[in-house]
């Protein structure tokens, strides 16, 4: 987030080296946010805690989309498939092999990393809309693949798998909803930190260069094929981990949980939140969690139409997503502060 703020400052025509005091602000903000997130479940009901757990989970999934589509420019309409793969990996490991739930999450992530990488290899030959269509096919096929007779023994077929609620780690005095919240929060923070480090370094510049100008990127010696497949893999890993966490939180997986609408919802969430950013994933997740409730409250007859209106409104008001809007507002505020500070210095 720090880098993004800085690049925004550059874009806004400010000196690249911000005053140290100004640079500290985002860090303090982040710490405050994290502290608030830690205290939150002690002030809200279990049901709300569960809802916020889903927000954290969705934020991880959306970050996967942001890395792939936002930073690397590969459009995926089928990320629901990786979400399902992660969820089923976790459910089968818990249900069939009795693996502890926390251990299933990294395994699900690894499985999705490999699956995403392998899917990314042939997908390399497809650009733009063609890739979107190939991934769309993957998303559409997912529920049917999950029903396939040959694997019914493990997947439970159309009936799905019911999983038991996880036990408390180290006997902490938390109820199951709070436990899952903190578990998801920990993983989310880790994954967000990982994404930030990945995207702001050499690898991140290569990923963005491929999006902005593939030929120039090749000329600079970037191995586009490898980077694109790896990005696909990492993105699938993020979404797969989100799927695994969702399966643990909801305690149930079934083919109907992973219909194509899920993949679309991920893309909406990313774009609304701000697809060219990391923080946007969190905004998008909040949108996906709470706006449908809002639109349902307005009309039972056509909740989807109302949701559509919200989507259009958001896109009109904040074309760069919520994260872009926040960045714009804070950059303007910084400009104003500076403008206010200058005469004082002069005088």
């Amino acid at each position: 987030m720090n880098t993004l703020l800085k690049s925004e400052a550059v874009a806004a025509g400010l000196p690249a080296r911000a005053a140290p005091r100004e640079r500290r602000w985002p860090l303090i903000g982040l710490a405050a946010l994290l502290a608030a997130a830690c205290l939150l479940p002690f002030f809200i009901s279990n049901y709300r805690t569960f809802q916020f757990t889903l927000v954290l989970v969705n934020a991880i999934a959306l970050l996967g989309i942001n890395i792939l589509t936002g930073y690397n420019g590969q459009i995926s309409l089928g990320h629901g498939a990786f979400y399902a793969l992660g969820a089923y990996t976790t459910a089968i490991l818990i249900d069939q092999l009795g693996v502890p739930y926390w251990l299933t999450v990294p395994i699900a992530g690894a499985v999705c990393l490999v699956a995403g990488f392998l899917f990314g290899l042939p997908a390399l030959r497809l650009h733009g809309l063609y890739l979107a269509l190939a991934t769309l096919a993957l998303g559409v096929a997912t529920p049917q693949l999950l029903k396939y007779k040959g694997i019914e023994e493990y997947t439970g077929g159309v009936q799905g798998i019911v999983i038991l609620k996880p036990e408390a780690p180290f006997g902490l005095p938390l109820n199951p909803d709070q436990r899952l919240y903190f578990f998801s929060l920990t993983i989310m923070v880790l994954l967000f930190a990982l994404a930030r480090n990945l995207l702001r370094g050499r690898v991140g510049r290569a990923i963005v260069a491929i999006r902005d100008h593939p030929i120039a990127a090749d000329a600079m010696g970037i191995n586009s094929a490898m980077y694109k497949s790896l990005t696909f893999g990492v993105s699938a890993m993020y979404t797969g981990i989100a799927g695994a966490l969702a399966a643990i939180a909801v305690q149930f997986v079934a083919p109907d949980s992973f219909a194509i609408g899920l993949s679309f919802a991920f893309l909406f969430g990313s774009v609304i939140g701000g697809i060219y950013s990391i923080s946007g994933a969190l905004y998008g997740a909040l949108f996906l969690q709470f706006v449908p409730h809002l639109s349902e409250g307005i009309s039972k007859a056509a909740p989807q139409a109302i949701f559509g209106v919200f989507l259009i409104l958001f896109m009109f008001v904040m074309p760069a997503g919520i994260a872009g809007f926040v960045r714009l507002v804070s950059a303007r505020a910084a400009l104003r502060r500076r403008a206010g500070a200058q005469p004082a210095k002069g005088g």
Partner: protein, 406 residues
């Protein structure tokens, strides 16, 4: 955690009240669990108002209109019904979220009629751990009668398996040498039918069933399956398809000159949605099972319950087509719930609700076929188990044979 403490305290206070009441000789006051009071009874409900199954959304509207009528007539034992219905988009994770909202935030007394097999599976364990009634679920899957493992969950309509067994019994009796071709939807619903049918035929199943073909909900047509079924030499066609595909199948069979005896699952028995699009001529002779009155069938139009239903439709659902079968279903299932709440009297605890739900004896529900009654007991969590066979004569269904099942 806080709620569970208050609940156990509550349970304790109930026990205390009960003891006191017994001591003073049955002169006890009203007893309430969350969601009930002197003034209201809160009922929670989820339904797919959006998403792939949104066609069923009208069931939720019908039920809401039913409670509106009950409230206009003064409520139940002086209490008004507050009906809270939420959209789950037919997505199981969403159902979990919405049902938790109903139970934990809205504090409903019970959850009534959540729709869909996967959605109900997703919440079943939660409901039973929380000990909140999950009543009269809107799915025909066979698993909704497991009173031992899930004492807080009860189905309502005849299960797909018991319906399939009715066809099997008919075939064994009247066409023991039939060669059966089956078309089924590749999901739990289709497989439930298949399973029940095979079980009903018993050891004759492998000889009598000559071909089983499936389709996916997302397929555009089932034409090739019908051609293949004809080629198999089948003389009985068991049509286990949802309305759109059932109509296609009947039409295609007619077009290619295949004239088997047709058994059509109840899911698609509707005259207006299925048989008319398929062609009334092509549908002539189709046999189905039924437990609800088909409103398009003129033979019911003079019945008292039909007239009442029609008056309700006109007053509370203006502008809705009288041919929408979901309004018959919603009306009948809400009537059953109404009866349970009436029986519960002033003891509106979750436990007593389940006790009364499992204590329906020969209940005659409006819009159910003559002879089909609702029966439950603590060891029978399947309210409607009987169906009747009916043959389509080109214009309406003609019931024949006795009531099948208990």
């Amino acid at each position: 955690m806080r709620t569970s403490i208050s609940r156990s305290m509550f349970a304790g206070s109930i026990a205390a009240v009960l003891g006191l009441a017994l001591a003073v000789g049955g002169a006890f006051a009203a007893k309430y669990d969350p969601g009930a009071s002197d003034k209201e009874i809160k009922i929670g409900h989820t339904n797919p108002y959006s998403g792939p199954a949104s066609a069923y959304g009208s069931i939720g509207k019908a039920i809401a209109a039913y409670w509106q009528m009950v409230n206009d007539k003064g409520g139940i034992n002086g209490r008004k019904i507050t009906f809270i219905t939420l959209d789950d988009g037919y997505s199981p994770p969403k159902t979990v979220e919405q049902v938790r909202k109903l139970v934990e935030q809205e504090q409903v007394l019970l959850v009534f009629q959540p729709l869909g097999t996967p959605s109900n599976t997703a919440i079943q364990k939660y409901m039973n751990v929380k000990k909140v009634p999950q009543l009269f679920v809107a799915t025909g899957a066979t698993k909704w009668g497991d009173y031992k493992k899930f004492p807080w969950t009860m189905g309502w309509q005849p299960s797909y398996q018991s319906e399939a067994k009715a066809y099997a019994a008919y075939l064994l009796k009247h066409h023991p040498n039939a060669k059966v071709g089956i078309l089924y939807q590749n999901d739990d619903y289709g497989k439930d039918y298949l399973h029940g049918f095979r079980e009903g035929l018993g050891d004759k199943a492998s000889r009598m069933i000559v071909k089983e073909l499936s389709y996916e909900v997302t397929d555009p047509t089932v034409d090739s399956q019908i051609v293949e079924l004809k080629a198999s030499g089948a003389d009985v066609f068991f049509n286990v398809a949802t309305p759109k595909f059932a109509a296609q199948a009947i039409r295609k069979a007619h077009e290619i000159g295949w004239r088997p005896l047709q058994l059509l699952n109840n899911v698609s028995a509707n005259i207006n949605n299925v048989l008319k699009p398929a062609g009334l001529d092509a549908a002539k002779g189709v046999i189905t099972t039924a437990y609800l009155k088909d409103v398009a069938d003129p033979q019911w139009h003079d019945d008292a319950d039909f007239k009442e239903w029609k008056a309700w439709m006109e007053k509370y659902n203006p502008g809705v087509s009288l041919n929408d079968g979901n309004y018959v279903y919603g009306y009948a299932v809400a009537y059953t719930m109404h009866q349970v709440l009436k029986q519960a009297g002033d003891e509106l605890t979750r436990e007593n609700i389940m006790r009364q739900a499992a204590n329906l004896k020969n209940l005659e529900v409006p819009m159910l076929l003559p002879g089909v009654r609702v029966n439950t007991s603590p060891t029978d969590y399947r309210p409607i188990e009987s169906v009747r066979l009916a043959r389509f004569d080109g214009e309406k269904y003609v019931l024949f044979g006795d009531v099948i099942g208990e």
